[in-house]
Amino acid sequence: MIEANDVSVFIGKQCIVTGVDFKAPPGALAAVVGPNGSGKTTFLRSLTGELPYSGHIAINGAEVSALKPWRLAAMRAVLPQATNLSFPFTVREVVGLGLSSGRSGALAGEGARLPERALARVDLDGFAGRFYQELSGGEQQRVQLARVLCQVWAPVLEGVPRYLFLDEPVSSLDIKHQLIIMRIARDFAARGGGVIAILHDLNLTAMFADVVFVMHRGRLAAAGTPTEVLRDDIIARVFECDMKVGILPRGDMPFVLPQSAA
């Protein structure tokens, strides 16, 4: 369980996140949505232990700020928005860096081939020998996801659930790969891990999320299931534009359609 109580985050003197309560259980995909600059990434970075915060954040019951980096790394992996690499590593070498925490949780037989298996999962079969810096933005993003998957290959290790933090994991992907990546996240949750993802696409959110947290100006504007949260009034207020939320008959899934700006 990832649990945040009354969390505020300051960057410099500016309060970016104010009094957020948050709960992401293992076995579920929690989406964080909100307009640009609403504090989503800053909030995520406090959850991962990267930024100092006031209030409480617990990962599996332990206060995040008190955990050593290697203890945290055994419980959660983080996919940042963008990663630029300073040296010419091959794709396989980059993915292999995910193993450096030494707690992938892979079965004895599959450990050595883990980077290849992770690459296959993100649809990058045959990319192992390429240089990371020569790939397109979307391909690089998938390589990073493969690295992150290597770090927490087993969603549950020794009875302890582990977590994936994904900051806009599909932002530069085409539709096919958006779906592939979201299914990987779903699968991770289905096997007992927890996923916390910042998403911009409200329809993907409706399709894949179990719980949705809507952030607005550093505060939590709404929280609940997609059907509870993705409503005309909430969307219009938070994103400041006219939206029409419909319901797809198949499975009662909400979908969001922007109306004309005028």
Binding site: K68, F87, S101
Partner: protein, 352 residues
Amino acid sequence: MVAGDRSGRARLAFAVLMVLLAVTAAASLGYGAADASAWRVLAGLFAPGGENGGLQALRQNIIIYEIRLPRVVLGILIGAALAVSGAVMQGLFRNPLADPGIVGVSAGAGLGAISVIVLGTTSLAPLVQWLGIYALPFAAFLGGLATTLLLYRVATRRGQTSIATMLLAGIALGAMAGAFSGVLVFWADDRQLRDLTFWGLGSLAGATWTKIAAAGPIIVAVLLTAPFLARGLNAMALGEATANHLGIPVQRLKNVAIVAVAAATGASVAVSGGIGFVGIVVPHLLRLLIGPDNRYLLPCSALLGASLLLIADAVSRTIVTPAELPIGIVTAAVGGPFFLWILLRRRGVIDL
């Protein structure tokens, strides 16, 4: 071989570099201005009580043990120290152009060393008395440490290092260290001036067992520490935040890396002066060959750095025989153009 996995090639390179170092070291021992055969001395060592060459053998022994061997040992230590501190610094700054010589760390270490050379008999006399032969490397270490810390503070913001800021700050710090050094040189008397000039050009010529005793332990300590930094430096290639996500205690890694760079640079500068460009040429060549994985890059850098410095020393001893060119001139003459070549090759990648 697994695609994209260069660890096999790296292990092979390590073995080849071991052989290269053994060969260059043997050649340096066996070859020199005087006609002394290292082979015969070694043979004499293993067959004591046999043929006794008298004075001739004694002379050969002195040449090998007191002149050539210390020079080879010092060359290996300095070459390894310079190359490894270059590689560690590049990993720390996430930047292939970082090198203690280029970004002013050597200049800072030099300022420390010059202070001891010039002020060692007056205001710094207590330090010299207290530390003995370690006073010079210690002062150079402090100078290097101060420069590295300042540079890191200036060039790094929110875990990202700006290449342009780092190079420019390095120029500024180097100039400042140079100015202070200049003041000290201005105060120096004639004998100190002569010492300073030869020291500053960089040379292995004055290699003695005393110098090795002063710098060797520090360098060996750094070389033994470096492999423990490899995993962390690899993760740092993805940025400080991601390194932290991967479980690396980033702040501790940075502290250890900075101290290691300053110590290795300080010790090298103290005993051999300004030998430049080894720290940038060696890791760069190796990255082309075996990739940037520090688990292999650091040990291979130590070996190749040692070999290259021995080769450069051989060139410096022979190119103007019977005189000797300071080795710093040789490494700069080769390393300068090499540095330009890296800059040109990467001009598109590095946005200055």
